[in-house]
Symmetry: C2
Subunit: 397 residues, 2 copies
């Protein structure tokens, strides 16, 4: 028996979770442009333009800057599986879900993985890195998460990059929750391989993973003794598909490329520096508001794009998130791993990072928490946020 | 220096290549619906509905029927890498690009691959299969392409399926260019794993790969001694993400799922049998027209969804395709591998499979080839196509 369903009619949410973030009408319009063939000269131009803009957003001259035809995790896997051959040594920093995932991926592809660990919500100390390299001097790849989406912790990379390069290893960085929202200059930080996702600070639907590989990373790729295990993610072939040869590999997700191209246009029209400043400003507002309401941040150095806060004592995590969604159409994220049920993750990424969203979210949370009888002073969060906004303006002026 | 580009404005083509096929306005509209979070209850319902409709289109009861978050080739890789562990034996049938690709993928994941070969454009003989199993009785997986996109050859599967199951192996089938356009009943043919793409007979943009795994295939998966090498394509985890547990794995390409859901609705509203008959009817028309113009088919048993024909002697392959694109906005495909420069691949898939497109393409090709002074009688192709259409109607009535 044939069974079909009603018309598709998703509710317009305010996406303040860990991603996807809100997708602007302009990007949705680009997404729905007529589908071209993936070898159509017009589409090849669109691919070229996308690459050129991706390089600007990654702040790199890397020729090998493309979008992998999968979501952010495919980008992680693409970076790892191309740089790692079975038996290679890799150091992976683990202080949250995504460092743990990188370790898992690397082991699956046959790497001998040495981990550097830190408490979730704490950063990796350069001292730990120096010691790890002393113990494992033959390390080929060093992997670290710049913006740990599970804890909201931002990882400084300057010193660590120096240590990695002094040891001769390749620096692999997860920038899924930072690219386009937090400064992550690939060339400036001498990052050799970096991946991100489209659905965070770029404000696109999920479906593509921007990646970039330095000339040093490509040399390592050229020196591989074995084929890359993953055919789909094999950069030695993807290079020829995205390159001037246009050697057929797979059929790229045409319409998603349209959306990414539009998203990158928007980033560059706003200006990367202005966009980063906008994310900082709205984060400061939100932080002032949340702290005035008595909520404590999980991470030591919070991302400006994602705010992980402890669920206040006595508050029912799920009930609050359900009310935000049902009564206000606001999505925020739950805690992951050890923070399951005890943390919220509030994203202010891409188009979602607006003063209006900060005000709306604080007002909604204020309503809900006061209903819970927590003794929060009505409007305390909003007042603090406004004060912070005014300070920002003074600081900017 | 910031460099941006003009507004995105792709030309509306008539997509008669090997995919993508034309995407209807209805599907593009679904694609551009507001992005939901991937754990939003509304999105979970959309995933469930998509799975239920996918099962109907695959003609299967298989619980594990989902869309992989990548294009068709990711579907191939997902099927291979989940069923194969290093050292497993696999038989792969190679009579075109995609059989060759399956062999490559299987070897990368450590399979000992035995190939059965046939000339490109010819089918695999059940006799060859019987002999291969005699020689390699420990074969775990048998892989074959149902619709070889590089040659247009359709592979009958009934007898072969019997042989595969008699030997105790798992039957893996590539249905990228057949699902939704040619009858491929998964349960009826006892297929254990099958993958397809969205951009062919389903009429969706590229970006997702529908896959289905039989209970036997899942048993094999449960008995693996090692983790699946690919984290992104690991069905043991994807099962929990698409299942009732909703264990977070990766962020699904939300808007692409909208488009797939809409495409499946359209398939089921038309009715699978009626849709398959439409593809047959339009293929017969096109074939009558092309043959009346003196063009010969490449494959022994042509797909109804893709027509591979030899480029006539003395005709410049590229010049004709360029004129089709520039003067008529029609895309057709070039030859691949040994057919590079000597064959055209004309797709009539999904929304592209219409009588109007057949007439338009024949008229355009007629114009172009007559300009080449080939002595083709004006309108011969169209007349033959019309006659075939009338015959079809008589036969249907």
């Amino acid at each position: 028996m044939t069974q079909t369903f009603g018309a598709l009619n998703p509710t317009q949410r305010v996406l303040l979770g860990p991603g996807p973030s809100d997708v602007s009408a302009r990007i949705l319009r680009a997404l729905a442009a007529p589908t071209l063939g993936h070898l159509d000269p017009e589409y090849l131009t669109i691919m070229d333009e996308t690459r050129q803009m991706l390089r600007q957003v990654f702040q790199t001259k890397n020729e090998m800057t493309i979008a992998i035809s999968g979501t952010g995790s495919a980008g992680m896997e693409a970076c790892v599986c191309n740089l790692i051959e079975p038996g290679d040594e890799m150091i992976v920093c683990v202080n949250g879900v995504f460092g743990g995932r990188m370790k898992d991926v690397a082991q699956r592809y046959g790497a001998i993985v040495h981990t550097i660990e830190a408490e979730w919500g704490r950063g990796i100390d350069p001292q730990q890195v120096a010691e790890a390299f002393k113990q494992h001097p033959r390390t080929k790849v060093f992997g670290i998460v710049h913006a740990e989406t599970s804890t909201g912790e931002q990882q400084p990379l300057e010193e660590i990059s120096q240590l990695v390069h002094d040891s001769g290893a390749l620096l692999l960085v997860d920038a899924v929750t930072s690219l386009g929202g937090i400064d992550i200059p690939i060339d400036g930080l001498q990052i050799d391989a970096c991946y991100s996702g489209t659905q965070k600070c770029l404000g696109c639907p999920p479906g593509l993973a921007p990646v970039t590989f330095s000339p040093r990373a490509l040399e390592a790729l050229d020196q591989r003794k074995s084929k890359v295990t993953s055919w789909y993610l094999d950069v030695t072939m993807l290079r020829n598909y995205w390159g001037s040869d246009r050697v057929y590999h797979h059929t790229a997700p045409i319409n998603m490329t349209y959306a990414l191209r539009e998203a990158l246009q928007i980033v560059l029209e706003e200006g990367l520096a202005a966009r980063i400043a906008r994310h900082q400003r709205n984060h400061r507002m939100l932080r002032a508001g949340l702290e005035a309401m008595g909520l404590a941040y999980v991470p030591q150095h919070s991302l400006t794009t994602l705010n992980a806060v402890h669920v206040p004592e006595g508050v029912d995590d799920l009930a609050v998130r359900n009310r935000l969604l049902q009564d206000y159409n606001i999505e925020i994220g739950a805690g992951l791993g050890p923070f399951k049920g005890t943390a919220w993750r509030v994203g202010l990424m891409g188009s979602s990072s607006t003063e209006q969203n900060v005000m709306l979210f604080l007002a909604a949370l204020d309503n809900i928490l006061r209903d819970g009888g927590l003794g929060i002073e009505a409007g305390a969060g909003l007042a603090a946020a406004n004060a912070a906004a005014n300070e920002s303006e003074v600081a900017t002026a």
